[in-house]
Assembly symmetry: C2
Homo-oligomer: 540 residues x 2
Amino acid sequence: MSTSSREAPEGPGADRARPVTPAPPRLSAVRVGIDTFKENVAFLHRDCSIVDAEGFQALSKVDLSVNGNGNGSANGRTISAVLNVVDDERIVGPDEIGLSEQAFAQLGVPEGTELAIAHAEPPASMHALRRKIGGERLAADEYLAIVRDIVHRRYSKIELAAFVVASAQFELDRDEVVYLTEAMASFGRRLDWRERLVVDKHCIGGIPGNRTSMLVVPIVAAHGMLIPKTSSRAITSPAGTADTMEVLADVDLPFDRMASIAHSLRGCLAWGGRAELSPADDVLIAVERPLSIDSPGQMVASILSKKLAAGSTHLVLDIPLGPSAKVRSMTEAQRLKKLFEYVARHVGITLDVVITDGRQPIGRGIGPMLEARDVMQVLENDPQGPPDLRQKSLRLAGRVIEFDPDVRGGEGFAIARDILDSGRALHKMNEIIDAQGRREQAPGLGRLSMEVNAPRDGVVVGVDNLQLARIARLAGAPRVKGAGVDLFHAIGSLVSAGQPLYRIHADYPADLSFASRLAARSTGFEIGAGDAVPKAFGEF
Amino acid sequence: MSTSSREAPEGPGADRARPVTPAPPRLSAVRVGIDTFKENVAFLHRDCSIVDAEGFQALSKVDLSVNGNGNGSANGRTISAVLNVVDDERIVGPDEIGLSEQAFAQLGVPEGTELAIAHAEPPASMHALRRKIGGERLAADEYLAIVRDIVHRRYSKIELAAFVVASAQFELDRDEVVYLTEAMASFGRRLDWRERLVVDKHCIGGIPGNRTSMLVVPIVAAHGMLIPKTSSRAITSPAGTADTMEVLADVDLPFDRMASIAHSLRGCLAWGGRAELSPADDVLIAVERPLSIDSPGQMVASILSKKLAAGSTHLVLDIPLGPSAKVRSMTEAQRLKKLFEYVARHVGITLDVVITDGRQPIGRGIGPMLEARDVMQVLENDPQGPPDLRQKSLRLAGRVIEFDPDVRGGEGFAIARDILDSGRALHKMNEIIDAQGRREQAPGLGRLSMEVNAPRDGVVVGVDNLQLARIARLAGAPRVKGAGVDLFHAIGSLVSAGQPLYRIHADYPADLSFASRLAARSTGFEIGAGDAVPKAFGEF
C-alpha cells in the first residue's frame, strides 16, 4: 500500500456527479428468542429490500445503531452482530431486523425501535490481530485495542479463535503477557476494597477434588485477613469451587451483598460471574475450551487479570505438577512460575507461587456433593476426613497467613492448624454459609451407583487425573450435584483383584451407562509392583 | 496420560450396579428457516427435557442421527451441529429439534422424522489439529482426517479458524502442502476427461480487471486443446471470472451440460460451484476471508486441489508481482513459484508458472460489465480495446498452447495472436456463449456515476490495486453487474489537475456515496515526477 496516494479528489468531479443522498437503511427491531451464547446474531429476512441492495449476506457483520428517531428510545448505542438470513416470516418479517437474546439485551431498547443498519467497519484492532497471526510482537496499545474489541463483542468466533491460536502458537513474550493482563483488567468492574492487604489463593486447575479454597478461606478469614474469594463454575472439570460451595450455600450473590459479607466476615465464597471482572476472559474462555488451548501466556493473563480486577493485593498460586496434571515437568513448572512472578510484579500483585504434588486427585470425592462432604469432614475434624486435603489446605492457608506482616516466615502453617483444630475455621465457614444463604437440605448423592474394581492384585502406582475427571463428568458432575466419583484408594495403596477402586454416582441411567463404559475402557488406576510407586513431584 | 491403565473393571462391580437402560433421547425434526451458511445449527427449546438432563447447552456440539424407527425415513445418516437454545415455541417446541436450512438439507429426511440426539464425539482429527496448533508437522493421514472432518462439517468455525491460523503461522512444510492438497482433492467430485491433455490457466488473484481467462479459453479452445474452465465468483474482489462471464452468458450450469459443452467446443467458462470440486476448500475460504489469511501453503493447496479435482493435466499459473499485489517481492514470488512447482510435480500436474507485472490493474474496467466490455473489445479487435489485457492474454494463451506437443517452444504467442486477429477466438467465444445460454440483453452500466479527478499536474507513478478494488466493491461490484470503476489512466500517464482519473459507476445512491467517500480519502493514484515511474517487476 506504499504507493497509495493520500490526496483527495478535486471539487469539479464531485460537482459533476449526480446528487447523492445516502440514507442508512432502517428496520424495526424484534427480539428473536434464540440464545447464541457469546456471539451477537442479527436476523434479516431474505426478502428484506436491503439484503440485496446493500449486498448483505449470511455471516456478514453489521453494525446496528439506535439514534435519534423521535420515539424517545434513542440511547445512541451501537452493537455489532453476525447476520443470519431467514426464510420464515414467523421469525422475522421483511421490514424487521431480528436480534438474538444477547444482542437484544446489549442494545437495551424496546421492540419496534428503528435501527440503522450498516456494514460493520472491521474491528479497529484487525491490523494488530493480523500482525499477531504473522507472529509479530504487539505493543500495549495493540493489546488494549484487541481486548476492547473482544469486550465489545466486535470479534466473531473466527477472529477470537484466530487470536487465541496465534497467541498460543508463538508463545507470548513476557511483556506481552503484562500488556494483555492489564488490558483485560481494564474492562469491566475493578474492585477497590480500601485495605492494604486483600489476599487470595488460586490453583491453575487440572486436579479433581482439589477444593482447598473452601478450607483456606475460612481459616484465613478467621485469622482476620480479608479474603473475598470469587470462584468460577466448572468449565471442563467435574466441579468448580462455585459448584461445590453451592451444595452448602447460595453463591449467586448480587455484587453489593457479596462485598458486604466479605467486609463483615473477612471472607466469602461466591461465584464470580456476577461481578463482571475481566469480561474479556469469559469471552476468550468460550473459544479456548473447545480447542483445549491453555497456553502459558493466556493462562497467566486470564488468572492475573481477574485478580487485578478483583482488587487482590497478595496471592498464593498453586501449580500442581504430575504426569496427568496441566504441568508435567519441573522445568515447565519453573518456567510458568517465573512468568507468573514477572507479570504479577509488573501489575502490582505480591505473589507466592507453590508447586504442589499433582500426581493424583486430592481428597476422596470428585463432584460437587462428594467434594463438599470432604471439605466439611476436614472442617469438623472428622477422623474420616481426607488427610491429603487437610494437609494441602493447611499449607496453602499458612502461606497466605504469612502475608500478614505480623506473622514470621514459617509460622503460618501452625497458625492455620490451630484455627482448624480449634473449630474456629468451622465456625467461620458456618457464618459464611449463613450469610450467603444456607441450603435448606443438601441434595443427596446420585441415586444410581456402581463400583469399579481392581482387575488384579498389586499396588496403585498411578491415578489418571484426566480419566477420573472425564468419568465424573460423564456421570453428570457438576450438572447433577450428587454425581461423581468416590475414591477408595490412592497411590501407594495395596489392592487385591475384585476389590472396589471407586464408586461412580449418577442420577440418570444414561449418565451411569456413559461413565461406566468409559471406566470399562480404562479405570484410570494403574496397578503395578510396589517399587513402581512414583515419588511426589512437588517441592511443597 | 502415560500412567493411565488400559485395564477393564472386573465383572463383580458391574453385577452389583442397578440395571442401566440407556436410550438415546429422540426428538421430532423441524426445519428452521435460517440460513447459517457453512455451519450446521440445531435448535432446542430451553424447556426440552433433554437440555437439562443430558447437560446440553448453547454451543454444545451434537450428533443427530436417523435410524430405523419404522416410518420408512431412516437413511442411517448422522450429522453434527452446533446447538442454539431457543425460548420461542414458534421457532421450535419442547419436543422438537430444529435444523437450520443447511443441516436439514444435509440430513435429507422429511419434517417430523424422529432423530436421535447425542453429545457429539469430538472430531476424529482433534488430536492432529492440536498437534498443528502446537506447531508440529503432520503426516498425510492426519491431513486426510482433518479434511474429512471439514468436509463432513464436523469442525465448528472455531476449529476451522484454529486450523487456518495454525497452518498459516508456522508455514507448512512443502510435503505437508502435498498432503493437504491430495486430501482436499480426495473429497467431492473428481473429473476424468479421458484425454491426455486437459489444460487450464489460473491466476492467484489480487489484480483488478485481470480477466485474461475469458480470452485465453476461446483462443486455446480454437487451437483445439481441451480447456474446460470452471471459475469462482468474487470473494473479496470486485469481480471473478464467473461474475464477468455471467454478463454475457449463463454460468450456473448443471455439471453434465458443462461437460458436454467442453467436449463439443473444447472449452467453456462456467461457474465452478456446481461441480463440487474440493468442497473442503469452500469451507476453508469462508474462514480465511474474514481473517484475510492467504498463506502460501493454503493458497497452493486450495488452487492445486481444485485443479486436480477438475482433471487438469497441464496448468499455466499467473503470479502477479507489484507493490499492491498479493506478492510484493521477486524473492517471495520465486519462493511461491517453487512451492507450486514442488506440489504440482508430486500430485501429477504439469505446471508452467509465469511471474507477471502486477503493479496496477489490467484493462480499463473494474467490475463485471466493465470487464466484459474490455474482453469483448479485445476479441473483436476493436482499436479501443485495452492493449495490456490483449498482450497479457496472448502471452498466457501462448504458454498454454505450448503444452501442445506439436507446438515448438516460443511459437505459442504467434499462434495465439493469429487465432485472435483472424476472428477465430471471437467465433469460439460466441459458440461458447450460445452453448451456455446467451444473455438476452446485457444489463447497462450503473445509472449513477461520478468522476474522480487528478488533484495536480504530474505523471501517474503508482496505482493501488487494493484501493481501486475497494472503491469498485463499495460502488456495488460484483453484486451490481454495471457497477465499478472505469480507468482513464495508467502508470506513466501524464495528467493535469482536474482531469478525470477514472469514473465510478453505481446503481444505488448509498453505494455511490460510500465509494466516492473512500475515493475522497485516497484516489488510489499516486501522481509524481516522470522519473519516479517504477519499472515493471515481472519477467514476463
